[in-house]
Symmetry: C2
Subunit: 219 residues, 2 copies
């Protein structure tokens, strides 16, 4: 096992894990790199190479034990302190994410969730106090105190674009490690906070550019 995982591999880890959770759910006990390749569309040599960064997970002439690989992922996800997250902005997108993440069904050896979502925030008075998913909505004014008290390290940002930078500013210096930014605008924060941006508008446009390119290739 080498100890620096390349960026290209990191980007595929979540895909691998989801695939193995699906296999586990289906009761499939082992799988080979060639079969995985077909399922997820990644070259089998790339898969073997990627897995080798996580340890020697397979057995020659046999393949990979589903359970062994899932446990390797959980070891990777295991951290000294539990990681807590809050979500800010309870519009439709915020609600969708609350439903994904607040279902506390899995937290055992196989299905450890990397981050526990424990609270929701919004500026709208009418939402404050409501229960959505299984979390209570707090007012944005209490954000800083909450983050400090509960040692929050991750933030899911689903506020409108115009509010994003202001909220992002208020997150600095509180020990936040990462922001999943779904606000459709770039935010600037201190270097020590990792921002991962997803813009669904851009995703549709990227799909469109790919199709366009493919069509032009034909001519």
């Amino acid at each position: 096992m080498l100890h620096t995982i390349p960026n290209a591999t990191i980007k595929r880890l979540a895909l691998y894990r989801r695939c193995f959770i699906e296999l586990y759910d289906k009761g499939i006990k082992r799988v080979q790199s060639g079969e995985l390749s077909q399922r997820i569309g990644v070259d089998s040599a790339t898969i073997r190479r990627d897995f080798s960064y996580l340890g020697e997970l397979g057995r020659q002439g046999y393949g990979y034990e589903v359970r062994t690989v899932l446990e390797a992922f959980n070891n990777l996800l295991k951290t000294e302190e539990t990681q807590h997250a809050v979500i800010i902005g309870i519009g439709n997108l915020g609600r969708a994410l609350l439903n994904y993440f607040s279902s506390d069904k899995f937290n055992d050896l196989i299905f450890k969730t990397p981050v526990d979502l424990i609270a929701a925030f919004d500026i709208k008075e009418s939402l404050v106090g409501q229960q959505i998913g299984n979390l209570e909505v707090h007012h944005l004014s209490g954000l800083k105190a909450y983050i400090e008290k509960h040692q929050i390290t991750y933030v899911i940002l689903t506020v409108p674009p115009a509010a994003a930078q202001k909220v992002a500013n208020s997150l600095e210096g509180l020990g936040i490690k990462g922001i999943l930014n779904l606000s459709s605008t770039v935010i600037n924060v201190a270097e020590d906070i990792r921002v991962h941006e997803v813009d669904l508008n851009m995703e549709l446009e990227t799909l469109f550019f790919y199709v366009l390119q493919k069509e032009q290739g034909k001519k």
Copy 2:
């Protein structure tokens, strides 16, 4: 101008376009590659190289005219027939996307939208006939007829994971070019349909893996 745009460039095009729309909104008339680099975190040489695939957009010693670049993007987005999309699955995520895409504010020279979202589908009888955003919800049973009648080429898929493959199957052979798959599961469709997958759960996990890696690098 070269005529095959590399994959790495295609993945950045939407980011560039969004940035230029923001600049235009702010009334900024020109911009240089170095300044762009700071805004979006892409090396200035990469930006110049990427732009050169779209034509000679800049002027030496001057930079890029914001309007000129936006027009170049719109030429790229311009297609012989208008591209229509439907959204399938009107849960919270579906609603969030409806609000993004059904606002028909922009469709001029500067802000051409690549795809027009024109209808929504769900299997729930209670939603059918309702107006969400500015679109009407149809019953899923009418999907095939609708796609054929209105020459739909793009589908935004926001159904639960368990329903995704079945819906995807029903989309084959109808002229669909691309699917934006937000259903949190891999779908298998014919080769001629491009699938672009976004899983918000995986995105959070990827952020977590990046932070983990960064922390381990420190030790």
